[in-house]
């Protein structure tokens, strides 16, 4: 009887739409981007015994390793910088195949060599490339199936670094370009043929609603990138994607208006790409505070009533919770202590007390452009009902300067230099907070900015890594550090957990690098000497202890 109950519980677990089990099928775990696993063989009572079982080096350390590995049926699919893809036996670490995308000779890109992950399904592995292509390769052999140029990277100065999202026979990708003179989009391609299924332009054209929020022709090259990965609600059939800052980042006078749909979460019909609703976080952003990060889909009570919610962390160090059926604002709160560009939220979610920088003179702004949190993602545990997210306390001096757009070239309209906050040195923290109210349960501190995603598990554990190379496990209820392992290089990727033949594994990328990692050395000069790498480390409990 006990056995049957267990089986039933396991089968319910396997069907949970939000938690992962044996596989880690999508970038954010499941479509709701919880980065939470129902696996609990590794838990807060035995995690001290966790030990490495294999490691895998990609051989390309440029920009470190930023990916989320995908695991399907005992095979790990990993992408590295410069668009290498590897299929790896998830038990032994043996390479099964490798695919390397050929970049044009002499190709350079402002947006760095990194890649944040692949999507796997329909017999293919999909990757977005540095020269702005989407490529499908055979899941079993790594042989190329199709390859489509989304837009000429030499012209647009844009490309793809985010992981694709696979929904109902379509592979959906975003695009970089938010710091360039470029107009963004989200594009869907048919998984079998590579033919374009739909395209959502993130800035409306003349005649479309929202174009009136742009002065003159500024909409044509006004940014609105879509550089991270979306989420999906199968019941509502909506894809949620975050749209980045308007360009130029800091100079806003030539693009007066609210600048839709920049700094918005957009809800798109998964079949057509048609806009269902949008929620703009920051109208007329002049601080590069992207709405770019993950959209976490939660069903939680608000004032006694169950609501379908969407939680989004904004780069400006604030969190928005909206109704994911309608886009209506539910709550907002600050994630960081040192924040001076706004004072709070109105009851409708309008940002109050904005302190926008002035032209030509330095303005002290907190947080720094690297973000009150960077793109590395949060995790949500349905057991503790806590959101686990990193945050960074740092500031900058911004000098705004007028700039004319040149298509495909960087378009910042200003400069910045990182600064320590007033009264204390910059630092970072990983927090457990109530997702709706922001009430903090505990805080784990780090000297250096925490730039790796968080993983939560049913084993009452929270995993993440730090720039010094430590991969660690915290007690999900108390924040106490239970285990740590030095992987040899800093963490900028996203750890996952999976199981094969009943044995649970925890995997983490290790490899210091990235754009924001480069900023860190402005405040901590020694970080410039931190070593890069491009490894995946995989851990498990000793066989006998499982």
């Amino acid at each position: 009887m006990k056995y049957i109950t267990l089986l039933l519980a396991m089968s319910a677990m396997a069907q949970s739409p939000h938690a992962t089990t044996a596989n880690w099928p999508h970038y954010g775990g499941q479509y709701s981007s919880w980065r939470y696993s129902a696996l609990d063989h590794v838990n807060n009572s035995n995690v001290k015994k966790l030990a490495p079982v294999w490691g895998f080096s990609t051989g390309d350390i440029a920009g470190g390793l930023q990916a989320t590995p995908i695991v399907v049926d005992g095979v790990m699919y990993l992408s590295s910088s410069n668009n290498h893809i590897f299929a790896i036996n998830a038990v032994t670490g043996e390479q099964l195949w490798r695919y390397t995308h050929q970049l044009p000779k002499g190709f350079t890109t402002f947006y760095g060599p990194w890649n944040r992950g692949v999507a796997v399904g329909n017999g293919s592995v999909f990757v977005g490339t540095l020269d702005n292509r989407v490529v499908a390769v055979d899941q079993k052999t790594g042989k190329e199936q199709w390859n489509v140029l989304v837009e000429d990277a030499n012209q647009c100065g844009c490309n793809i670094t985010g992981a694709p999202l696979l929904v109902k026979g379509k592979v959906i990708v975003g695009v970089t370009g938010g710091d360039s003179a470029h107009r963004g989009y989200v594009t869907a391609f048919d998984v079998k043929t590579g033919r374009e299924a739909w395209k959502f332009w993130t800035i409306p054209a003349p005649g479309e609603k929202g174009n009136e929020t742009w002065l003159g022709d500024s909409w044509k090259l006004g940014g609105g990138s879509s550089w991270m990965t979306g989420s999906y609600d199968p019941e509502l059939n909506l894809v949620y994607w975050s749209i980045g800052n308007p360009s130029a980042d800091f100079y806003g006078d030539s693009r007066k208006g609210a600048n839709l749909y920049t700094d918005c979460v957009v809800a798109l019909d998964a079949d057509t790409g048609k806009l269902k609703w949008f929620h703009q976080q920051i109208p007329h952003d002049v601080l590069d505070y992207d709405t770019a990060y993950e959209n976490i889909l939660l069903d939680l009570p608000v004032e006694g009533k169950m609501r379908k919610l969407l939680l989004n962390v904004n780069k400006g160090g604030i969190v928005f919770v909206v109704d994911r059926v309608t886009g209506q604002f539910v709550s907002g709160y600050k994630l960081v202590k040192h924040i001076n560009w706004m004072t709070g939220f109105s009851k409708d979610g309008e940002i109050l007390g904005r302190n926008d920088p002035k032209e030509g003179v330095p303005t002290f702004v907190c947080p720094a452009i690297g973000g009150g949190r960077s793109w590395n993602q949060a995790a949500y545990s349905p057991v503790t009902k806590q959101l686990y997210t990193t945050a960074i306390e740092w500031c900058q001096d911004v000098v705004v300067g007028k700039e004319e757009p040149q298509e495909g070239k960087t378009f910042f309209g200003g400069t910045f230099e990182a600064r320590h906050p007033k009264g204390e040195p910059a630092y970072s923290h990983l927090d457990a907070i109530d997702p709706v109210t922001g009430k903090k349960l505990w805080e784990y501190r780090s000297k250096y900015p925490l730039l790796a995603s968080v993983l939560a598990t049913a084993g009452n554990l929270v995993f993440s890594g730090d720039p010094e190379g430590n991969f660690f496990a915290l007690d999900a209820k108390t924040g106490a550090k239970l285990w740590s392992f030095q992987t040899g290089s800093g963490h900028r990727g996203s750890s996952i957990t999976y199981s094969v033949n009943g044995r649970q594994y925890v995997a983490t990328p290790s490899g210091w690098g990235s754009a924001v990692a480069g900023l860190v050395s402005q405040l901590w000069p020694e970080v410039a000497e931190f070593r890069s790498a491009s490894m995946v480390w995989v851990f498990a409990l000793p066989e006998a202890a499982k």
């Binding site: 440029a62 410069n82 970049l103 000779k105 002499g106 190709f107 350079t108 890109t109 402002f110 947006y111 760095g112 060599p113 042989k143 190329e144 199936q145 199709w146 390859n147 489509v148 140029l149 989304v150 837009e151 000429d152 030499n154 012209q155 647009c156 710091d179 470029h182 107009r183 043929t193 590579g194 033919r195 374009e196 395209k199 054209a205 044509k220 090259l221 980042d249 300067g401 700039e403 298509e407 070239k409 960087t410 910042f412 400069t415 230099e417 990235s514 754009a515 924001v516 990692a517 480069g518 900023l519 050395s521 402005q522 000069p525 970080v527 410039a528």
Partner: protein, 246 residues
Amino acid sequence: MKILALVCVAGAAFAQADVEAGGRIFKQTCSVGYCHGAGGGAGRAPVLAGRGLAQSYLAKTVAEGIPNTGMPGFKSRLSGADYNAVMGYLLKINGAAAAGPIFEPVKDAPASALPAMARKGKGLFFDPVRGTRCGTCHAVEAWGQAVGPNPVGASLQVADLRNGKGTQVQLARVGADTFPAVLIESKGGRTKVFDLTLPPPVARSFDTKDVRFSGGANWKHSELVKSYSDADLTAIAEYLKWVAQN
């Protein structure tokens, strides 16, 4: 586009004002965003200050960039005067003596000679506002994708630009799927074609034994260029003519 000629001469010196201007340009161009740090200090890109970097290395790198990295070449982005000013600044932060060999200030190339109509045509050819533009399937100068033939040197009659011959386009059959295709290559048992069913074209790969080609593809160039008016195509023809002549 401005072209720089790199001319190395000994004994010329930069005025202090040029070095200061170089510092400003460096701030706006090189230490911008997530690239080099302020003053050539720490950033995502390498530290540039105090490393004793050689002038010849700096000159080449600033002009040409470093392939397969985030470092672009600036020879088409900076004027000659600005390039020299940045060089003066880079030498200064590397402790180079002001009187050392430096570049002869390069005269700016004359402003682009592209006439107004041709400039308009270039804008239309690569129009970023159109999801499908000429550059989606044709490469000219530094931009575009060469799926269709090089339009430079082809007939520039508006009717020909509109209708396009499409002589390379065949009907490909793979299982139950048929589509208009342009063969890219067939080797090692694999065949790669551009699938032209919808723009943008998709480069698809198959086992050669699974692909059959025949004539009779249902494909019309005029469908792809229907967003362009005859006046647009006239301007595009002017642009292509200018490219052919320059």
